[in-house]
């Protein structure tokens, strides 16, 4: 395999200054923690935390067919969304497995932004897939993953921290969940959305120039001091998303997992005329799924990790997709893809953790309700 260049986000220097512990992640050198994952986790749950998410990819669709092309690419319906609306959706292959999961930002009819997961070489996997499927759509596709900077400001105090920092062009209090607005922050042009990956209220802020995100990061950290803000790494990003059971592409979902198995069925709009994967997903739906993503509670015996085998009477019935200690619940949970009928709540299964079998029970997801459902 070709040697990959290690990518740095525009905030890389900031992480080093803060003495973050760095790890390779999807081609980038990223902070996993600054002071400690659990400490950072609680900053997000109880106050506010800021994450560098500049590694995320941005693909711009411009032109007459921008919206209809987006609608054809993804399983969710975006034709009727308004300017400033955001939709979550899987991006499927023809066979129904997933290229990625992403957010569609409708800027206007002829300008749509796809926010995709990081993957080596600035999300080239998503970009290539989108380009490959252009067909006769009148649309210009550009991979802008290198140009956007992005931070996520997450936690119950995120609104209190950011509201005084923005001007009239950004009425932040009125900004609803899954909506965005374009305006200015610290003199830089930004796009700000009321979204996040933590299960808390919060915002994601995009700069249109990579270097602009540095002033925004520094400014928010400085102004956030009175709220006890913490810079948070990928470790806390994972524990916060895991407690509320948000899918992590590459772990919980991938090219082998279709949205009907993973609990993303609500995002698949079969009433749309056409979208990539529709035929395959329709067939799967008619036939019925044979396995399902479920939550597991592990009362004792260790931490299940990705790809560990799940068994019933010594027979393999599935695998762990994510597993961890949940700091807010002080308990160990996992997500797993299990064969039917072992997916019923209360069903008892075993997880092969190294050389032992550890008992687990199928439970309701999410393990912790997101902030607006607590």
């Amino acid at each position: 395999m070709q040697e990959q260049e290690i990518l740095l986000t525009p905030l890389h220097e900031e992480h080093l200054k803060l003495k973050a512990r760095m790890i390779p992640f999807d081609g980038f050198d990223m902070p996993v923690q600054y002071t400690g994952i659990i400490e950072e986790h609680f900053a997000v749950r109880e106050r506010v935390g800021i994450f560098d998410v500049s590694h995320m990819g941005e693909i711009e669709l411009r032109g007459k067919d921008a919206l209809s092309f987006a609608d054809y690419l993804v399983t969710n319906s975006v034709m009727k969304i308004k300017d400033g609306d955001i939709k979550y959706s899987p991006l499927c292959y023809l066979h129904g497995g997933q290229v990625d999961d992403l957010f569609v930002y409708k800027i206007k009819d002829d300008f749509v932004l796809l926010v995709v997961n990081a993957s080596p070489n600035y999300s080239i996997k998503d970009y290539d897939w989108v380009v490959k499927n252009k067909g006769d759509f009148e649309v210009d596709i550009s991979n802008k993953s290198r140009d956007y900077g992005e931070v996520a400001v997450q936690g119950p105090d995120a609104i209190k921290l950011l509201e005084p920092l923005v001007k009239e062009d950004i009425p932040l209090k009125e900004l609803k969940r899954f909506k965005f607005i374009i305006g200015e922050l610290f003199g830089k042009k930004i796009l700000i959305s009321r979204t996040g990956y933590t299960g808390e209220d919060g915002f994601e802020i995009y700069s249109f120039k990579p270097e602009d995100i540095i002033d925004i990061w520094q400014g928010i950290l400085k102004e956030g001091k009175k709220f006890g803000i913490k810079p948070c790494g990928l470790g806390a990003r994972d524990t916060t998303r895991f407690e509320v059971c948000y899918w992590l592409y590459g772990n919980d979902i991938d090219e082998t997992v279709n949205p009907l198995e993973s609990g993303q069925g609500w995002t698949v709009k079969f009433d749309k005329e056409n979208f990539i994967g529709k035929d395959a997903l329709l067939k799967i739906k008619e036939k019925g799924i044979s396995r399902k993503l479920v939550g597991l509670y592990i009362p004792q015996g260790g931490i299940p990790r990705t790809k560990m085998e799940v068994r019933k009477d010594q027979k393999k019935i599935g695998y762990i997709t994510s597993g961890n200690y949940c700091p807010s619940l002080k308990k160990v949970y996992a997500m797993a893809i299990l064969d039917l009928p072992y997916t019923e709540k209360g069903s008892k299964v075993d997880i092969a953790i190294r050389n032992r079998e550890v008992e687990a029970e199928v439970v309701e997801t999410p393990f912790l309700p997101p902030f607006n459902k607590r």
Binding site: V32, I37, R305
Partner: protein, 128 residues
């Protein structure tokens, strides 16, 4: 950031410490090891009476982000297990050298101590 190293203990290359008193060795992981692991959340139960050879796996330790084996610095039999850290593994983050000890062993062969490092040697070994 420099990690604490305590005098008069023996150290291994895999970051365990061993305190020797009257033929009994107390085993734990070093400050460097706990710092590398991050928030420790689980320690596999150590069996009392178990006989282990030098470098065998004594137990497995899990943090939020990683899993790591704890090796036995010397050959011997496990005589005591620190129940407190089995019940609350995060003690190891706070007190790797005192409250955070993991197990005690009856040392079979004192000659093996020669294979271990002194505090000074370990400090050099883990100097960044």
């Amino acid at each position: 950031m420099s990690n604490k190293v305590i005098e008069n203990l023996y150290y291994t290359k895999s970051d365990e410490w061993l305190k020797v008193e009257d033929g009994i060795g107390t085993i734990g992981i070093t400050d460097y090891a706990q710092d590398q692991l991050g928030d420790i959340v689980y320690l596999e139960k150590v069996e009392k009476g178990k006989k282990l050879k030098q470098d065998d796996t004594l137990t497995t330790i899990e943090s939020v982000k990683a899993v790591s084996d704890v090796k036995t610095p010397v050959t011997g039999e496990v005589t005591e297990v620190n129940i407190k850290v089995i019940e609350n593994a995060s003690i190891i983050n706070k007190e790797p050298y005192v409250e955070g000890w993991i197990a005690k062993m009856k040392i079979e062969n004192k000659d093996e101590l020669k294979n271990l490092m002194s505090a000074q040697e370990y400090s050099e070994y883990r100097k960044e």
